[in-house]
Point group: C2
Chain length 406, copies 2
């Protein structure tokens, strides 16, 4: 049996819905991968009685609990006080923490407000978790059955403290038997098509198969229990992936995380030292924005009107053959651009079809690499946001396919 973990989030902004609690999901993914079974998430506001009651409940119910929020300097930050009351531990002033807090302000040329003094108070017997990322140190302690770690609710600070301190603490305290989660990430193929292709594969009962369809990709997930033989695992992953062919743009869980399609393309383009120029239409800047920060993206154009786009590049538009037109535009762009590759995205159907959720558009992508043309054609339906996002992804995916299969 895996040890159980609960996630506890404190803050009025969470219970009132002003903030979506992304910390709980992030922490759960982390600890599930380590071999914990996450049994419950709870969020409460800043009422002392609620906090005290909940801490006592959890201390009797879970092996471990990570709590976020309530460590700030103001009167509604009650976590340390609640822990003290729940478990009958007096608050003690920690000089080291106090020096750290003062230093945080001094480094920013600011005077520490008197309020922040409170952040150096910890329940007796707790261990301080130093925070180089903000003013609030965290702390951990054992209470009843449960080992608690308390960290700030600011996601960036929480993530650093988890990865740099808490994770090691958990590994030394618990005997963990992590399984392995593999995500095969695809683009351009739907969940039901994936299921059909995979149905041919014999998946052992102890391996859990799952799917996760997002706006940008579909993930086929294989969860292997602890101790599953490495070679059998590798064979099964390869078999499933090969059923999905080159819809697969990345496999997560083998080594480091691969990121989304744009991250995969970024890695390939950077490795190949190639540069790109883009003409986008349906995706209206979204393709460019998905490559944000990419050094290899030299120039992009968006033009609402296909006619004006043709005028600008002195290309005759042939509405009956948009692929030919896309190729002509790519050739024209190549002359005026320093980029190695030219990617052109056109679509059939006018601006009205793009906006009408009941109409589909047909996308024509042409990629010019030196003297060679690559192309793809897709039909995309749904609300404009979906169409534009798919248009950006599918053009980028044509580039990915060429780069991966060269």
């Amino acid at each position: 049996m895996n040890p159980t973990m609960e996630i506890f989030s404190q803050g009025e902004e969470i219970v009132t819905g002003q903030t979506v609690d992304t910390n709980a999901a992030w922490l759960s993914q982390q600890v599930a991968q380590m071999g914990f079974t996450v049994t419950r998430h709870t969020a409460v506001g800043d009422k002392l009685d609620d906090l005290v009651g909940l801490l006592r409940e959890i201390s009797a119910r879970a092996d471990c609990c990570i709590c976020t929020g309530g460590l700030g300097p103001t009167s509604d930050d009650l976590t340390a006080e609640a822990v003290a009351e729940a478990f009958g531990l007096p608050l003690e002033f920690d000089n080291v923490a106090f020096e750290q807090i003062k230093l945080f302000f001094a480094r920013r040329n600011r005077i520490m407000p008197e309020l922040n003094r409170k952040q150096a108070l910890f329940p007796k017997g707790s261990e301080r978790i130093d925070n180089a990322w903000g003013t609030a140190p965290g702390f951990s302690l054992q209470a009843g059955r449960c080992w608690f770690a308390f960290v700030p609710g600011v996601p960036m600070e929480m993530q650093h403290l988890f990865l740099e301190t808490i994770k090691a603490g958990l590994q030394s305290r618990f005997s963990l038997k992590p399984g392995k989660l593999i995500s095969i990430k695809t683009i351009g193929i739907g969940e039901s098509d994936i299921q059909e292709r995979i149905s041919a594969v014999d998946i052992p009962a102890q391996v859990q198969l799952g799917f996760r369809a997002g706006a940008d990709e579909v993930q086929t997930k294989l969860w292997f229990p602890n101790g599953y033989p490495e070679t059998a695992m590798a064979t099964l992953i390869t078999t499933v992936a090969s059923q999905l062919g080159d819809y697969v743009f990345a496999i997560d869980g083998l080594t480091e995380p691969t990121g989304d399609l744009a991250a995969v393309v970024d890695k390939l383009m950077t490795a190949g030292k190639q540069t790109l120029a883009v003409i986008e239409t349906a995706s209206q800047g979204l393709l460019t924005a998905k490559c944000i920060g990419a050094q290899w993206l030299l120039r992009t154009m968006y033009e609402q009107s296909l006619g004006r786009l043709g005028d600008k590049l002195a290309v005759e538009i042939n509405a009956d053959d948009l692929m030919e037109t896309a190729q002509a535009l790519a050739a024209a762009m190549q002359k005026s651009s320093a980029a190695d590759f030219i990617l052109v995205q056109l679509y059939a159907g006018d601006n009205t079809a793009l906006h009408d959720k009941d109409k589909s558009i047909v996308l024509y992508n042409a990629l010019l690499t030196g003297a060679e043309f690559h192309q793809s054609v897709h039909s995309v339906a749904g609300p404009i946001k979906r169409k534009q996002n798919q248009a950006a992804l599918l053009a980028l995916d044509l580039l990915r396919r060429c780069l991966q299969h060269k």
Copy 2:
């Protein structure tokens, strides 16, 4: 005292962190506006004992509870069973629900799988909540102190059922005294500067003041209790907003929601029937993508190299006076574009400065409206994602200021 509300989310995908629970935040915002006090969010997986225990806890603790998830057809969808066990209510087959489920499949030319029959079983004494948006009907019932409503976890279905059925049910069951939340939304000014400007305003003790800083905007929030006099409210809002001057791009809570900066610009551009062409550099397509779907955006260009941008538009680049260069580029773009307005964004500092989180860049925005130039200059620091996002927003904000103050 407001009646208390808890939100209960069921699903392994939530406790394992595969899905961020956005339902809890959405529902909390809705019911807080109606006059409930949300006291707790809880998420558990699909273990029957956990569900039963939690339902009993809540029935003794809260006046009302909305539960999402666990109404699907598969064996891990246990909500109805858990309710039956928790409160000793046998499950009863509902013929009307069964017909609805069959119809859902018939309309899609599919045969109803036998599994879905289960979705027509409800705990005795519960009231069905018809679902025109999916296969799973919801249900509601009183148990102990608490009125429960159970709805599917698919956000779109949940939102429809809440707005179309549950909301009215809550209003008829509870005597609600909603307060009023006003959000004054600003861009280009930080939270501490806002606090300093507002410190001059005398805010009555019964009005709660709060701040919320996001990547795209800072919100100054005023929460007025039920029965607060309308004129005093209007005066206070105007006073606070005037302290923030034209950093304010929208005020939420007065009539319908205003949306983000791009939505505000979209409304103004559409109302004025103007069109726009854009040259963006630092924001690399993000500005264009923020206006996604906008009919008034005719053309945009991104060019990584300022030299190549100058060549393309036959404009001499003056690195010592980027505002002059931006204006010259706008004038050149105006000649070759059909757009009414031309917005040009340049920045001082090279691509390396853009990528280095310890270096700042200076943004030069020029907007040409007919024969008139408008301009803004900003220094932006931080990681590239922040710099690029701010670059997109601040250029768009120059456009917003001109449109609002004409």
